[in-house]
């Protein structure tokens, strides 16, 4: 506890991107598109023509590529926020374990085993 409080707060936390103002600006169009997926009709429109839908929301080429490749780390790098990206993952039928496995380069089985192990 004491150690937690006395550490410098400016240090980097490995494998973690703070979704701050900088990232929020970078990812605005991408997150706005993902926010639109709250509506079923928008999800359907996306499925009918993914790239056209991305362009309608003004995504840049990096973002369009990462959407096309289902590249979650690439989407985060391009300013995506995980809560909005989760709505994109939902369209693809991916669970947060699938998304976690992809980001960590593990199989879903190994990722689930890691989660269970944390409880031991």
């Amino acid at each position: 506890m004491a150690a937690v409080m006395n550490e410098k707060t400016s240090e980097e936390i490995p494998g973690t991107t703070f979704f701050d103002g900088h990232q929020a600006m970078k990812g605005y169009a991408l997150n706005k598109m993902c926010y639109s997926f709250n509506r079923a009709e928008n999800r359907e429109e996306f499925k009918r023509g993914e790239e056209a839908y991305c362009r309608k929301y003004g995504l840049n080429e990096d973002q369009i590529r990462a959407i096309r490749d289902r590249d979650v780390l690439g989407l985060i790098e391009a300013g995506g926020n995980i809560y909005y990206l989760a709505k994109f993952a939902g369209i693809l039928g991916l669970s947060v374990q699938d998304v976690g496995a992809q980001q960590t380069g593990m199989s879903v089985e190994d990722f689930n085993a890691m989660l269970r192990k944390a409880g031991e």
Partner: protein
Amino acid sequence: MATIAGGITTSHIPAIGNAISQGLQGEPYWKPFFDGYPRVHEWLNVVRPDIAIVVYNDHGLNFFLDNVPTFAIGAAKEYRNEDEGWGLKTLPPFPGDPEFSWHLIESLVNDEFDIAMCQDMVVDHGFTVPMSLLWPDQSPLPVRTIPVEVNTVQHPIPTPARCFKLGKAIGRAIEAWPEDVKVVVIGTGGMSHQLDGTRAGFINKEFDLMCMEKIVTDPEQLAKLTIRDLVREAGAQGAEFILWLIMRGALTGKVSKLHSNYHIPISNTAAGLLLLENAA
């Protein structure tokens, strides 16, 4: 005079809502989690609160990044959920209490907390999953709800110290309400979890258990943590612990733990449950 009967904290993972709608509570994966709740149901049945203040974070349903309030309070007659992009079940509307909401808002703003006031808001799993867990299969809900929404999506998110103080101000507001009602304050979310990045799947049992103990006995100590401390120790989304600190701040009396449960994993998350009594 309104009284604060107690506080409850519970995780609000979306997968729980699916498990409830599919009736999976008795499955081996889910049983250790759901087995934590009957003791809380028992308490709620005895206390029968009139009002539940539900502290939660919106995950991109009601609020988009065009407009992110740090603290927002609902002041509507009822609140509805939506499918959130995943086809989640639409639930019966949750009753509100606009009179109490406006009292709370006025009291908090007078107490120097700047609140976004929402007469029309949809509530997501952060709000609905705790309601389904605490009052299962009860429609209409036997309590009137007051959504208190806190930004945990976009940094800067409010500090633990600020959230603890907000909780204290909520406690003062409840006790200043002249009607003879019983209020329960519910802090949702947590515990340790991280969904994004190469650190996805991060869980920290030791830190969580320390938080579950200290939040009862020494919340001031936890309020000294920074958001960066929480992200490092509890994972990127584990910063939701600030919602628990708001609940704890609102308990103004003699606080004792009646029940707790902790289980890993539910989805990517360490799930925590606390039932705290607030004696005069």
